[in-house]
């Protein structure tokens, strides 16, 4: 990719990642939540991959790591749901619910958002990595 794309990518990739994390953490206060924030986080890595080539991402997050992190995200979500059994019902919101419109409120909802963003984001990144590695393997043959 040309020099302009590489320079702009270097400047903005960190901001995109930060924006994605902001959308995930404020999921119970403003629109967004786990799905949208997870996709934005994944897209920051894909942006890096498009500008600098596959190696810029695979030395930070290999395909094996992505696969394991994805399962960890799903198991985390299931355990948050199972914690509800301490209160008597599946998926019950049992942590303290603070006052509305504060960041630390609404019980287990922010934790679920974080788990879902991990799963969706890393899942999307793993799909991209799998397709790119497939292309490399085919080109080598």
């Amino acid at each position: 990719m040309s020099l302009i794309v590489k320079t702009i990518t270097r400047l903005t990739v960190g901001l995109i990642l930060l924006y994605g994390i902001y959308i995930v953490l404020h999921g119970h206060l403003s629109p967004g939540g786990g799905f949208a924030g997870g996709v934005i986080i994944a897209l920051s890595f894909v942006h890096l991959m498009l500008a600098f080539g596959k190696d810029a991402v695979t030395e930070r997050i290999s395909k094996q790591t992505a696969s394991k992190l994805e399962s960890v995200g799903a198991l985390l979500f299931l355990s948050i749901a199972l914690i509800g059994f301490f209160g008597g019902y599946f998926f019950l919101n049992i942590l303290k619910k603070g006052e509305p419109f504060k960041l630390f409120s609404a019980g287990t909802i922010p934790l679920s958002n974080i788990a879902i963003s991990l799963k969706v984001g890393i899942g999307l990144l793993a799909i991209f990595l799998a397709l790119v590695i497939l292309e490399e393997v085919k080109r080598e043959k």
């Binding site: 394991k68 399962s71 799903a74 198991l75 299931l78 509800g84 059994f85 209160g87 008597g88 599946f90």
Partner: protein, 503 residues
Amino acid sequence: MNQISIIPFFVIIPLFTAFLLSLIGRFIKRLFVDVLSETSCFLLLVASMYSLNMLRESAAPALIYKVGSWMPPFGICMVLDGLTSFMLITVNLVAFLVCLYSHNYMEKYTDKPKFYTLFFLMLAGMNGVVVTGDLFNLYIFLEIASIASYALVAFGTEAEELEASFKYAIMGSVASSFIFIGIAFLYGFTSTLNMADMARVLSAKPNQWLIPFVSVLFLMGFGLKAALVPFHAWLPDAHPSAPASISAMLSGVLIKALGVYAMIRIFFNIIGTSQAFLSVLMFLGVLSMLAAVILALSQWDLKRLLAYHSISQIGYVVLGIGLGTPLGILGGLFHLFNHSMFKSLLFLNSGSIDYAVGTRDLKEMSGLREKMPVTAHTNLIASMSIAGIPPFNGFFSKLIIIFACVQAGHLGYALAAVVGSVLTLASFMKVQKYAFSGELKEKNQNVLEVPGMMKLAIVSLALICVLAGLLLLPSFRFFLNDAVNVLLEGRKYAAVVLEGVLK
């Protein structure tokens, strides 16, 4: 935590196992992967029997579980009534035996932990469809199970399997989009998504154009998932291409839990059936019965022949349920249970032949009876069940369906059912002759019988085929009668669920 909280575990256990195996499958020994999956399946089977017992003891017609303790219609509820427990036992029994079978069969494929991940995701989706009481939740679990099955059909990644999986994926996705639009129309009209609440609102508000329109959309969508005849074109390609244990799951339970169960739950309990719709359903059933069995007569690929017979037997089920009389629905649901049993057995046997001999073509194999006696005898039992020969289970369910047709006055349909049965017998005598009797070919001289776990699975299924006729005895009849009563009540299901919630 009281007794009723076992209901969400039907979804939690398979999901947990799926992601756990995906995480640690590479690091633990092969044996532990198999033992973990068989333990989960066994736990699910025990839970389904326990839930049947719980339902019988509680004397309420339905048990309701409120997820997150939100009151329906604001929250999602999971409903366990007679039809649900019937489907749960069918699905989990077949899944347990297929899991035992895959212990040895999947050694021939690469990457067993990924196989088990997808298998448990499909099982979680099917259990979720059966247990849920909310319409959009049904769509979500339907999609989970469908996507897992698209990936499982392409598991071997040969050229033909990829082609079959692509065709199945595109057609299945278009059908799911029709179902989604139907759900969107129903939500727009009733502004609720809970099944019981929607039934109550639909019977109160006057609606002329909505019900026929939504019925057509759902018939197209669920008809494709259930493989009724105008929508069957994906099945003869997809079911042979999957590995044999997945073919048994797809043909044995997936087309029933996603297609037939969802259709009858929505039509009988929410929208309400009219005589016009029931006659369309009966016509499609008879069309499936005859067209598929005639197309199956010319097949030489063993699994493709079995796939066409799946379409035909689903035609029997839909004919039985479409009659609308108590005897007809009893016959239809009993045939659904029986078909899961003998069709899974037939597909597992074709997998055994593939494992031992290496081919699926009927012209290449002969005389296998001397080398593989267990497979040959269980195949004989399954063939006699599907053709409807007494005293195996297929005979009883087909007899009830034919009696119900005659009783309702549709003599032509009864005659078509008998003709279909005779042609099925012809097909399976061909299979038995070409595969098992005759001379053993030169290249097949040193085939062995299948290993122990596979033998255990197929002998258990054969035993169930022999004994399932006993389900009609009065002391065991409750298993079917509860399911039939749920469908016959129709929209009064809404009142039952809503008052169960308030308790």
